[in-house]
Amino acid sequence: MKSGLKRSNAPIFWSLFGAGGMFSALFGPVLVFITGIAVPLSLMLPSGTMSYPKMLAFAQNFIGKGFILAVISLFLWFAAHRIFHSLHEIGIHAGLGAKLICYGSAFVATVVSAVVLLRLGF
């Protein structure tokens, strides 16, 4: 066995990436449909489905909060990881800078959305 091996920290990012990939595959298309097509065009769904009071109530519910946080945060971790690796593949040798921008923005967005969701109260 080789000596001087250093354990990679990739599992942290890879797990978030994996979770985000699964979550976005499950919910991404239907969310695009609901928020981008059905609600604006008033198709299929009762009117006011995404009205402010309803959305506020959703965001004040414990499970609703979790769902919103997961959608924002995991989607971003997924995207950050993909972009970071794609940069590497097209020859932009993503050093610390690219790492900070990609994962950093996912991290900041996670913290910001968690704070905002908490401040909305229960």
């Binding site: 066995m1 091996l5 354990r7 599992p11």
Partner: protein, 251 residues
């Protein structure tokens, strides 16, 4: 030579480390018959045009794994690739991508050999066993868990296909990880935790970005991409659970 003799143009990447600054292409017009492989085309060039053309081969039947090259840009075994499938177009043969060229179509495989050694490619028994305990018994199910990963012929086509190995030659790479997985999955072996140190290291599985081209070019259907993927999950489990279990992989 009959009048109807078909002739194919073979463009070869030539490189002589003693006289050339960099590799260059040379074209040869090779008469061929329908049963001739690309390897036989190269042999024809060596026998009739330039005896210095250098390439590896041995078995001519896709089993020794030594005749890999880029054929029109795709990593293939030249002994099981046929000239007739390219005729009447020109065919280009080059040394395998992602490896340093030693001469013409021969690449330097020493890095790969080191990687093969590093994964401890042999059964390390779970516990000492004496002769009078008899042979190991393995169920068909236990056998099926690893048999696919034993088919590797070390042709390194998967390395020529892997963009991540191209970017980082320290990456242990598809075939070595497939072989590592073969031993980990063997019910007689007990060294998975030891090998984890390498799997989870910076040279390990997380270099892979799931391109999957390695499995596509593999002539033996080893599916190294699958072995790499399974070991990503294993390494992630090991990463998060290592504090719970007394015997983790690396520190």
């Amino acid at each position: 030579m009959p009048d109807s003799q078909k002739i194919i143009e073979i463009e070869v990447l030539r490189y002589n480390p003693e006289s050339d600054k960099e590799p260059h292409l040379e074209v040869y017009k090779v008469p061929f018959s329908d049963d001739m492989s690309v390897l036989q085309g190269a042999q024809y060039i060596k026998d009739h045009f330039d005896g210095s053309l250098t390439f590896r081969w041995s078995c001519r039947m896709a089993i020794c794994g030594s005749c890999g090259m880029m054929i029109n840009g795709i990593p293939k075994l030249s002994c099981e690739t046929f000239l007739r499938d390219y005729y009447p177009n020109r065919i280009r043969i080059e040394a395998m991508a992602n490896f340093p060229i030693e001469k013409d179509l021969v690449v330097d495989l020493s890095g790969f050999i080191e990687k093969l050694e590093s994964i401890q490619p042999y059964i390390i028994p779970r516990e000492p066993r004496s002769l009078d305990q008899g042979e190991y018994i393995q169920s068909p199910e236990q056998f099926n868990a690893y048999i696919q990963f034993t088919s590797c012929i070390n042709c390194t086509l998967c390395y020529a296909a892997c963009p991540q190995f191209g970017l980082n030659p320290d990456f242990i790479g598809p075939a070595a990880i497939a072989l590592l997985h073969r031993y980990n999955m063997d019910s007689r072996d007990g060294a998975a935790a030891e090998r984890m140190e390498l799997v989870a290291a910076e040279e390990g599985v997380f270099n892979c970005s799931a391109v999957g081209y390695c499995s596509e070019v593999c002539p033996k259907h080893v599916d190294p991409a699958n072995a790499v993927n399974i070991n990503k999950t294993n390494a992630a489990k090991d990463y998060f659970l290592r504090f719970l279990s007394p015997k983790g992989g690396s520190k």
